[in-house]
């Protein structure tokens, strides 16, 4: 009896769940389909591409040879992402420490100004930044682009690092100061390990933003040799006159997407901390 009853409840529960799995599973298929299709299409044969028929890496070879070459664009993207991450981490680490632990004149004004970057649309700032970078001789330069991208990361990064420092018990730092460390020593030896999770979150957000940004390089980089990968793939698509090379574009999307998807899957926990922190409320 009891077994049968157990059996029926399991069965009815499974039936009761079926609509859930139909809806959730159907949605999952819709969400996965474009990604899977693109990966598959990039290695499949299509007329008018380097991979005329069968399966193979022809489209990726097109990408390798396009204009300045895939390696060049990957290098540009890597340099911009690395510089942006380094600048964002450095500035927000020091800034977060200052805002969390020190009192200084203009503290609140500076913090508010940093958050105000969020209120100003990207596009509004890019036109004057184009002129300004020209005056600083940083126009059409990967360094200039990284500086701009890092600035746009500052509101989130500074907020995140400030609350990370505030979450560290003051006693930890004070004992280091009593032991004869300066504030810089306390920061390096005691606080840095304590705020590392915050740094990983900030770094991850900065990387994803810099790696994927399109409009900033579109406006600030005029030399196709210096284009980061998203811009190069978009150009590749536009420049092929008449006949459009869909295959090479699909291969480009794969190269663009794989690092982001891998990093996200590896660091999911840290990504989600960005949401939990309330930093997005800015």
């Amino acid at each position: 009896m009891s077994l049968m009853r157990g059996g029926t409840t399991v069965l009815s529960r499974a039936l009761g769940r079926t609509p859930y799995y139909v809806v959730a599973g159907g949605l999952a298929v819709i969400f996965l389909f474009p990604l899977v299709w693109n990966a598959w299409a990039s290695v499949s044969g299509q007329p008018g591409t380097a991979q005329e028929s069968g399966h193979g890496l022809g489209n990726y070879r097109t990408l390798l040879d396009y204009d300045a070459g895939l390696w060049r664009y990957l290098l540009n993207s890597t340099v911009v992402s690395a510089l942006t991450v380094a600048l964002t981490l450095g500035v927000s680490l020091l800034g977060g420490y200052a805002f969390a632990r020190f009192d200084f004149p203009g503290k609140n004004l500076l913090f508010l100004l940093t958050l105000a970057i969020l209120m100003v649309p990207y596009a509004t700032l890019l036109i004057p930044l184009y002129v300004l970078l020209g005056r600083l001789h940083l126009q059409n330069s990967l360094v200039g682009l990284s500086l701009v991208l890092a600035m746009f990361q500052l509101p989130f990064a500074t907020f995140m690092m400030r609350i990370s420092f505030e979450a560290v018990p003051r006693e930890l730092e004070e004992s280091a100061l009593v032991d004869g460390c300066g504030t810089a020593g306390a920061l390096r030896r005691v606080l840095l390990p304590a705020v590392r999770p915050g740094l990983i979150t900030v770094g991850l957000f900065a990387f994803l933003a810099a790696w994927n940004d399109f409009i900033a390089p579109l406006i600030l980089i005029s030399d196709s040799e210096k284009a980061p990968l998203p811009l190069a793939v978009a150009n590749l698509r536009q420049q092929s006159m008449g006949a459009v090379d869909y295959g090479a574009t699909e291969a480009g999307v794969v190269v663009l997407a794989v690092p982001c998807l891998l990093l996200f899957l590896l660091l999911q926990r840290h990504y989600i901390r960005g949401f939990m922190s309330g930093a997005l409320k800015g």
Partner: protein
């Protein structure tokens, strides 16, 4: 080792000045206070430099540019106010672009937030597989917007895209669909791309909000015999309001500033029917080579956004209080 241990008990050589000389108490304290102040300033200095050079200065500059005759190639040619603003508003594309951007924003916001809420409710409770679904729904958000736009550009392609043949084989359509061919289909196709790309992102924000609601509230309601619909309407939705308001703010702001998706997917076409306001800024600056008018447009966008932010922040605060 011994030396090190000894050194720790003896006062270190480079002890701070107030400890070595021990003057009267107040100046020492004052000095330490000012030194902490100076140190705070030093740590904040990189932030201050960044914010000043790359945010405050450009903001002032865009104001000046919007009041000046400023061709891309020659630079500043002096004040011409308010010509840039009247030029911007007189441009034949200005009002169509404003109308289109608003229409797009309304459609995207409604569809995106509804779907994000559905997804959040679907994966909220722990069941076998819910973690997998969460990750799958979020995956497109890890992509860049430009990458996603390039992906859908292939997906929607009349020659190699798979969607037409899928729809045909399902018997939903008879002829190949032109996803980007008419102004309506181009708009809807772009909305679909954006919903696919961002639904998981907003789902995550709502999920965080859902998890902040104490579990006991739901249990108490269930004990009182409330139905699922009742619980959703009178508990979940009201308690989720702060998170929904945040999603609304982000979604409206992001949609009003739409650029990448239209630049890549539709190029503003067909017949300039999908030109957004930010695309107008780009065209003014780099195709018509007129930075002054582009700056005026930028200022208009900034003013609208600020107004909207103030209104929505007020709503957000009210939601937080209740």
């Amino acid at each position: 080792m011994q030396v090190k241990a000894a050194a720790r008990t003896v006062p270190p050589h480079r002890s701070p000045p107030e400890r070595r000389t021990r003057p009267r108490r107040t100046p020492a304290r004052a000095r330490r206070w000012t030194s902490r102040k100076a140190q705070g300033l030093a740590y904040a200095a990189p932030t201050a430099v960044f914010v000043t050079v790359f945010f405050v200065l450009p903001l002032l500059l865009v104001g000046q540019m919007s009041l000046s005759d400023w061709p891309l190639l020659t630079g500043d040619r002096g004040v011409n106010a308010p010509e840039n603003y009247t030029d911007a508003a007189d441009s034949t594309l200005f009002w169509p672009a404003v109308r289109f951007t608003l229409l797009y924003t309304v459609i995207v916001t409604v569809v995106l937030l509804a779907l994000a809420l559905l997804l959040a409710l679907l994966v909220q409770e722990f069941r076998p597989g819910s973690g997998f679904f969460r990750t799958v729904y979020f995956l497109p958000s890890a992509l860049g917007l430009a990458s996603a736009s390039l992906l859908f550009w292939g997906l929607y392609s009349p020659t190699t895209g798979p969607l037409s043949s899928i729809l045909e084989s399902l018997g939903l359509v008879d002829d190949p669909v032109s996803f980007l061919g008419t102004s309506t289909s181009a708009l809807l196709s772009t909305v679909f791309l954006i919903v696919w790309k961002f639904a998981g992102f907003y789902m995550l924000i709502l999920l965080v909000g859902l998890q902040r609601i104490p579990h006991e509230v739901f249990e108490a309601a269930r004990m009182d015999g409330a139905s699922r619909g009742q619980i959703f309407r009178s508990i979940t939705l009201p308690l989720l309001r702060p998170s929904l308001a945040l999603c609304l703010l982000l979604c409206v702001t992001g949609s009003l500033l739409a650029f990448d998706q239209f630049f890549i997917l539709t190029k503003g076409g067909p017949d300039n029917s999908t030109v957004t306001v930010v695309q107008l800024i780009y065209r003014e600056a780099f195709q018509r080579l007129n930075l002054g008018t582009a700056a005026a447009l930028s200022i208009i966008v900034l003013a609208v956004l600020l107004l909207l932010n103030v209104l929505q922040f007020r709503g957000l605060r009210r939601a937080d209080e209740s």
